[in-house]
């Protein structure tokens, strides 16, 4: 059930802060989405509100209905301003050390995300290098890597948590491993493609210089793979955030955005769920943006057209 909710807020990948002329279409779309959201809130919450009016035997106007659907304590779909208010309170007006602070929960998830992403990047790149250089690995490893991704993460996550728990690992590491499990795959696929991308002519050139495979790797294959690497890192960092949140669900974790979602759904606190989702997508956007910034920096150092 919780996964349904989780799938909704995909971090907006590839968002680019454009010049002013981009502001108008973006603004129009945002306004349209907010209007749609308010409309949906009325539609989805109306039944409950009408029931309540009927129980209290009160006559109601449309204005009263709309007002009520936008200010319920436990709405089916909270209105944007309710989410914004909850978000603001739990981010800015709550002590960061408090269990009610969204900053605290975001920090917990973010650390698992970053550790998982780091491990996933190392694993993904190492696998790709092995696959490109050893024909044996290409044939023996790739099917397993692909098979690993066909197993739903929700099936694996509890087992990872239980097994690692028995080994004495709790908290950050199990979540990071689940996150890694999810994010190494796009990196491996992208980097394999990138390392094989050099032009045959450029490879011949290295051969005429009698370059060693190591030299060919550092001077030709890796630079050629860089754009592929960054494209997959962007996908992977968003995926590793999802992995970290999913990793928090089966543990009954006390902290983290996943725990926040879980407790929200236990107690019907939909506003809390939505503000956690907003936080998750903001983190996703931020992370993808950061990878993009590093990409641009590296591109400049590598002489990309400015």
């Amino acid at each position: 059930m919780t996964t349904e909710i989780l799938r909704l807020p995909r971090p907006v990948t590839g968002s680019r802060s454009g010049p002013l002329r981009d502001a108008l279409p973006v603004g129009v779309v945002v306004l349209a989405l907010i209007a749609l959201w308010y409309g949906l809130a009325v539609w989805l919450n109306a039944a409950q509100v009408i029931d309540r009016f009927a129980n209290n035997d009160t006559a109601w106007t449309v204005r009263e209905l709309v007002d009520a659907t936008w200010s319920m304590e436990r709405p089916v779909l909270p209105a944007p301003h309710q989410v914004a208010q909850n978000f603001y309170e739990t981010v800015f007006d709550t002590a960061v050390s408090s269990k009610r602070s969204l900053v605290f929960h975001a920090g917990v998830t973010l650390s698992a995300t970053l550790l998982g992403f780091l491990m996933g990047a190392v694993l993904g790149i190492a696998l790709a290098v092995g696959i490109v250089h050893l024909a044996v690995l290409d044939r023996s490893l790739l099917p397993w890597i692909i098979a690993s991704q066909t197993i739903p993460i929700l099936a694996i996550a509890p087992m990872v948590v239980v097994v690692l728990g028995n080994l004495g690992f709790e908290g950050l590491l199990p979540k990071a491993i689940i996150s890694m499990y999810l994010c190494f795959f796009p990196i491996t696929i992208g980097v394999v493609k990138g390392l094989r991308a050099p032009d045959p002519l450029q490879l011949d050139l290295m051969r005429t210089y009698n370059a060693t495979p190591t030299q060919t790797f550092w001077k030709l294959r890796l630079p050629t793979a860089t754009p592929f690497l960054f494209a997959s890192l962007k996908v992977a960092i968003a995926t590793s955030l999802v992995g970290a949140i999913v990793g928090e669900l089966p543990t009954g974790a006390q902290a983290g955005l996943g725990a926040r979602l879980l407790s929200g759904s236990y107690y019907g606190q939909t506003v809390q769920i939505w503000s956690a989702l907003v936080m998750a997508s903001l983190i996703g956007v931020l992370l993808v943006f950061l990878v993009g910034a590093v990409e641009r920096g590296v591109g400049r150092a590598m002489g990309a057209a400015r």
Binding site: Q202, L205, Y209, Q215, K219, M302, G303, A305
Partner: protein, 278 residues
């Protein structure tokens, strides 16, 4: 990485090299690509000797094996039968000792390296000290007329300039033998004339052996001391034409009767080998 890098080989046989081996000796050389229906004979019974200091062009229509022959010399392709030596040793040994510089049809510059670092690439691989790399890059970029462009990236240069960088790169590690595979094929005629003239001056100045693949008759005649005319299906040598033209050749030489006479012989030879059966 650099553990197995050998000492840079200054194999220049200028002094005391009266017994220096020929640059290329091929005997009964054949290369057959296996194919599903019918094997492709890329090279058939090639007999060819290229002496040091010669400028030899391979000319012929597409599929005549001129590039394949050059790739065999460069140890980028392996012959099926026959023998070949490069500087007196096998092509493989010659490649390991970095005996030749290869200039491809496309510049094949590395987009993420600026002009200077592109030229320094082979020197890095050979493990030369940084100061030496810099000074050689400067010297050879000057030689191809690109002094001052060190910091530019390939995308900032025209096609002709890019190809000149790739020539500087091939010269920078100072091989005896320069293999050039249609290096000016993609350039406009004005740039091509200009680069032909520069290449000839370079050859006169350095005395390197040059093997040059082209399908332009006038380019072949203008540049070469000998022209190897080849023909497809199977790839073979039809005729080897010695050029009587002097080593110093202004561009105008292309209008002289001697030049036209050589060009005519090349054309006749090409026509003789050309079958219009497809």
């Amino acid at each position: 990485m650099s553990a197995i890098d050998p000492i840079p080989t200054p194999a220049s046989g200028s002094a005391g090299a009266d017994i220096a081996p020929d640059a290329v000796v091929a005997r009964n050389l054949s290369l057959i690509y296996p194919a599903a229906d019918k094997p492709v004979v890329a090279l058939s019974d090639i007999d060819l000797t290229i002496r040091r200091g010669e400028f030899v062009s391979f000319i012929g229509p597409s599929g005549c094996g001129k590039t394949t022959l050059m790739r065999v010399v460069a140890d980028l392709a392996t012959p099926t039968s026959g023998s070949i030596t490069v500087n007196g040793v096998s092509p493989h040994a010659a490649r390991l000792s970095r005996a030749y510089g290869y200039v491809f049809q496309a510049p094949a510059l590395y987009a993420w390296r600026n002009v200077q670092r592109n030229v320094m690439l082979p020197l890095e691989i050979m493990g030369l000290p940084v100061a030496e790399r810099r000074s050689r890059a400067a010297r050879y970029l000057d030689m191809v007329g690109l002094g001052g462009f060190e910091r530019k990236f390939p995308w900032q240069l025209s096609g002709g300039m890019q190809q000149r960088v790739s020539i500087a790169r091939a010269l920078a590690f100072e091989p005896d033998l320069l293999l050039m595979d249609e290096p000016f094929g993609a350039l406009d005629e004005i740039t091509r004339d200009h680069l032909n003239e520069q290449l000839l001056q370079l050859w006169n100045r350095t005395g390197k052996t040059v093997i040059f693949v082209t399908h332009s008759i006038s380019e072949a005649v203008y540049l070469s001391t000998r022209i190897v005319v080849m023909s497809p299906r199977p790839g073979r040598i039809l005729e080897i034409i010695d050029s009587p033209l002097p080593p110093q050749r202004p561009l105008d030489i292309r209008e002289t009767p001697a030049f036209l006479e050589v060009a005519h012989r090349v054309r006749v030879a090409l026509r003789a080998g050309h079958s219009y059966d497809d």
